[in-house]
C-alpha cells in the first residue's frame, strides 16, 4: 500500500508515493528521477549506490525509502553548483580518476564523506575510506590520486603530505 513520503534531496523536498518495500535507491532513480546514483550489486557490497545521509555515506540499496524521511540526502547531483564542479569532481577529471564512470558517483561521495572528516588523509586512510566502493576499470590508483589531489585543493594549508602506509 503506497504511502506519501517526503524526501529532502540536495536541498529540495520531493513528495513521492512509495510502498514500504521500495529502497531509497529505487525511489531516487525511478520516482525522483535522479539517476546519478547507480544500482550495482543491489546488496550493499559494491558501493555504487552510495549517497550521503546527514553527511554520512550509506548504501541506498539497503535503505528503505520510508526510513530516509527527515534526513538530508545528498546524491552526486547535489555536489556541483550549476556548472561549477565540486573540487573532488574537478580532481577526478584532472587526474583521470574514471574510465566508464559507473562507480564514480559512489566513489566521489565516499571521498567527500572521508575528506569532510579527515581533510588530509594518508594513502592508507584513502584506501580504507573507499573500501566499500568497487571499481572494475581503473585498478584504483588514479582514484586514490584524485582523492589525494582533491584533499590538497580543499585543505591546502593543512601541512605536508603525511606518509604512513
Amino acid at each position: 500500500m503506497k504511502r506519501i513520503i517526503k524526501l529532502q534531496v540536495n536541498g529540495d523536498i520531493y513528495e513521492v508515493a512509495a510502498e514500504p518495500w521500495r529502497t531509497l535507491l529505487e525511489v531516487l532513480r525511478d520516482e525522483v528521477g535522479l539517476t546519478g546514483t547507480k544500482k550495482g550489486c543491489d546488496e550493499g557490497d559494491c558501493g555504487a549506490c552510495t549517497v550521503l545521509m546527514d553527511g554520512e555515506s550509506v548504501p541506498s540499496c539497503l535503505t528503505l525509502a520510508i526510513e530516509a524521511q527527515g534526513k538530508e540526502i545528498t546524491t552526486i547531483e547535489g555536489l556541483a553548483e550549476g556548472e561549477k564542479l565540486h573540487p573532488i569532481q574537478e580532481a577526478f577529471v584532472e587526474q583521470g580518476g574514471l574510465q566508464c564512470g559507473f562507480c564514480t558517483p559512489g566513489m566521489v561521495l565516499s571521498a567527500k564523506a572521508l575528506l569532510d572528516k579527515n581533510p588530509r588523509p594518508t594513502e592508507d586512510e584513502i584506501r580504507l575510506g573507499i573500501a566499500g566502493n568497487l571499481c572494475r576499470c581503473t585498478g584504483y590508483i588514479k582514484i586514490i590520486e584524485s582523492i589525494a589531489a582533491a584533499s590538497r585543493k580543499m585543505a591546502p594549508h593543512r601541512g605536508a603530505i603525511r606518509t604512513g602506509r
Partner: protein, 306 residues
C-alpha cells in the same frame, strides 16, 4: 532485485517492538540497519510479512561508560558510533579494532553491534572481540521480563541465537579491563572490506606485575557453528611468559578445536597462524601498559565485598 512485500510497523518503545514481534511471531522480523536482513530478503531467504522497524525508538542509540558496570552499548548503537566513541577508543580498543576490520564505511554507518550479534553468523566479527572482553547481553522479552546472560552463551548455531520469540537485545555490557591488559583481533578474508571473515581470532590477555600471563581469552570466529573459545590454548598461556614455544603450543591447541566446514585444512592452519600473531600482539600491548595491578585488585575486592 526488489524486496518482497511487507507491512512496516514503527513501534515507539522497545517493549512495543517485542509485543509486535510476539503478536506476529513466525511472520515478522525486527530491523534496524537492515544490512543483513535486506540482502536475505532480496534473495527470498526470508520473507517476513511484517517488519518491525526499530530505528526510531528513542533512547537506545547510546554508548556510555559507567564506573560500576563498565561500557554500556545500547541496542541501537551503530558500528561506527561504537568504534568512534572516546570511551571505547580509550578503554576497549580491541572492540574498535574488530569493528574497523569488518564491513565497509557505508555499512558501519547504519549497521549495529546488536544486529551483528543477533544475526549470529559464525563469522560475526564483533562476537569474538566482545566474548574475549567478557561481555554480557541484556535481553528484553515480550512479557516485559529482562534477562542478562554472558555473550559467550548467546549463540546456539549458524544464524541462531538464544533469543526467544518476541525477545530483543536491549544492551551490551562490557566490564572494565584490568591494567596490564591488551587485545588483538585478526581476521582473514578475500577482500579487505565487506567479505565475511573466513577465519577470525580475538585474543585478550592480562599480565601481572612481572609480565607473566595472569588471564587469557582466545575466541575463534568463522571456524565453528558459533564463535568458539579456545580454552585449552588459554590455559597454556596462564602462568607463562611470552616465549616462542608457548605461542606455538597455544596456536596448535587453537587449531585442534576449530572445525571449519570448507577448505578445512587451510583454514585450520590459518587459525594457527592468526592465533600466534594475535597472542603476540595482545601480549606486547599488555606489556606496554603502565598500570598498578595491586590497587586495581584492592578496588575489585572492595567492590565484591559490597
Amino acid at each position: 532485485m526488489t524486496l518482497p512485500r511487507f507491512e512496516y510497523l514503527a513501534p515507539e518503545t522497545l517493549q512495543e517492538a517485542c509485543a509486535l514481534l510476539m503478536q506476529h511471531r513466525g511472520r515478522a522480523q525486527a530491523m534496524n540497519g537492515g544490512t543483513d536482513l535486506l540482502p536475505k530478503m532480496k534473495d527470498r531467504e526470508v520473507t517476513p510479512e511484517y517488519i518491525v522497524g526499530l530505528k526510531a525508538i528513542p533512547g537506545l542509540n547510546y554508548v556510555k561508560h559507567d564506573k560500576k558496570v563498565g561500557l554500556r552499548i545500547g541496542g541501537l548503537a551503530t558500528l561506527k558510533g561504537v568504534a568512534e566513541n572516546p570511551a571505547v577508543k580509550k578503554g576497549f580498543p580491541l572492540l574498535r579494532e574488530a569493528i574497523l576490520q569488518m564491513a565497509s564505511p557505508q555499512i558501519r554507518n547504519i549497521g549495529t553491534v546488536a544486529g551483528n550479534l543477533c544475526n549470529a553468523a559464525p563469522s560475526a566479527d564483533t562476537a569474538p572481540a566482545l566474548i574475549a572482553l567478557g561481555a554480557m547481553v541484556k535481553l528484553l522479552g515480550a512479557d516485559g521480563q529482562e534477562r542478562t546472560i554472558p555473550l559467550e552463551d548467546f549463540f546456539v548455531g549458524p544464524a541462531q541465537a538464544v533469543l526467544k520469540e518476541g525477545e530483543l537485545l536491549e544492551e551490551i555490557k562490557v566490564p572494565d579491563t584490568p591494567p596490564l591488559s591488551g587485545g588483538a583481533y585478526l581476521r582473514l578474508s578475500l577482500r579487505r572490506a565487506v567479505d565475511l571473515a573466513t577465519v577470525g581470532v580475538a585474543c585478550f590477555l592480562t599480565l601481572d606485575g612481572k609480565k607473566v600471563c595472569r588471564e587469557a581469552r582466545i575466541v575463534l570466529g568463522a571456524v565453528a557453528p558459533t564463535p568458539l573459545r579456545a580454552k585449552e590454548a588459554e590455559s597454556l598461556l596462564k602462568g607463562a611468559r611470552l616465549k616462542e614455544d608457548i605461542l606455538d603450543k597455544a596456536a596448535t591447541a587453537a587449531m585442534r578445536v576449530s572445525k571449519p566446514r570448507s577448505f578445512a585444512e587451510y583454514r585450520q592452519q590459518m587459525v594457527g597462524v592468526l592465533t600466534k600473531r594475535a597472542i603476540r600482539q595482545a601480549w606486547e600491548k599488555a606489556a606496554a601498559v603502565k598500570g598498578d595491578v595491586k590497587s586495581f585488585m584492592k578496588k575489585q575486592g572492595r567492590r565484591q565485598e559490597k
